[in-house]
Amino acid sequence: MSWKSLLGALLLLAVVSGTAGAVSVGLGAYGGMSIPVVQDDNGNGSVFGLRVPVHIVPVFTAEPYFSSTAGGDKTLDAAGVSYTRSGIDNTAFGLNVLFQFGTGVQFFPFAGLGSNHLKRDGLDKTQTGYDFGMGVGFKLPLSGLSGDVRGALNVVKDPGTSEASRKWAELTIGVSYALYKALP
């Protein structure tokens, strides 16, 4: 299944699964930790980004995003000498779809697709990536503001081979502001 058909299926199923409800558009910022999963040549780093949550039907939110990850260096020994490899920086944009449970404090599994530009010395490639995760959202005591904590797995096709992937676990904290809200 190509990423375009998967995206289409996600959106179509999300739309048909819901009914008309309040429409809202927000703007959010987030940041946190990025931890490579089984990557001997890439270290822990940081991630920050922007999101535009678009809430159309009661159970789901479509969320275009931009993110920037600064990979951490990794040092290894070879022939008695320590060598440091620069971490992989990742500039990404894409779309996540959130599926919300509860009122007040909300729990939401999410999944999405993105374009990931991976860069370090000797590497400069753009690869398709997939996001899977779980989040907890809550209202903040200021009008229009909400916060969330998310854990996600970011899976990006390995630039060296299409048969493998590079993966990062991400733990982020975010704040969103409701820019526009219309009742049905």
């Binding site: 299944m1 040549d41 290894l76 000498v81 992937s165």
Partner: protein, 185 residues
């Protein structure tokens, strides 16, 4: 309707797993230490031959049956010019363990440029090639030969050579090949 909220992420995960199961993979580092020191004296000794068997490296042999490709590579070490003017060094690769070539012409006819040229100043000079610098010096064609050997036996031959003139003496100390293999289910 609530079940739909789980179906959609499940569909996305199923698509990913169905796409060659790339989820179950990782990047494993292995390195092969070259002989040290390696000395090259053109024209009498214009190149050095290193037969590499990655099966002697645990990280490779443990993952060879799950090997998917090459995620990163570097050739590192202390590259020295002991005598003579500035020059450069290259590394060529040939599959398996072919007979030793008689000269540079025969070497280049039977091998492929993998890495370089890496320049080094007039003697006395030392250029410590690090991982980041080295990663930018690989040829696409040579890397393809290496990937093919990684997937089919892990045995290949390196030729370290220089374009130096008569009177040059080059030395490589504490050299190593660092490979990061992509391995998965």
């Amino acid at each position: 309707m609530k079940s739909m909220r789980w179906i959609l992420p499940g569909l996305a995960l199923a698509a990913l797993l169905g796409n060659g199961c790339i989820l179950l993979s990782g990047q494993i580092e292995a390195h092969f230490d070259l002989a040290s020191p390696i000395t090259i004296n053109p024209p009498a000794t214009p190149f050095y031959i290193e037969h590499v068997d990655l099966n002697t490296i645990k990280e490779y042999s443990d993952n060879v049956d799950k090997l998917k490709g090459l995620s990163d590579i570097a050739i590192v070490g202390k590259f020295k010019n002991l005598t003579g003017p500035a020059g450069s060094m290259e590394i060529w690769i040939a599959p398996g363990t072919p007979p030793d070539p008689a000269n540079l012409i025969a070497l280049k006819a039977g091998a492929t440029l993998l890495w370089g040229p890496g320049s080094i100043g007039a003697a006395p000079a030392e250029h410590d090639v690090n991982w980041n610098e080295s990663s930018k010096l690989f040829s696409t064609v040579g890397k393809a030969v290496l990937i093919d050997q990684l997937k089919h036996g892990g045995k290949f031959t390196f030729y370290i050579l220089s374009n130096g003139q008569a009177g040059n003496t080059f030395e490589v100390d504490q050299g190593a090949i660092i490979i990061v293999i992509a391995a998965g289910a």
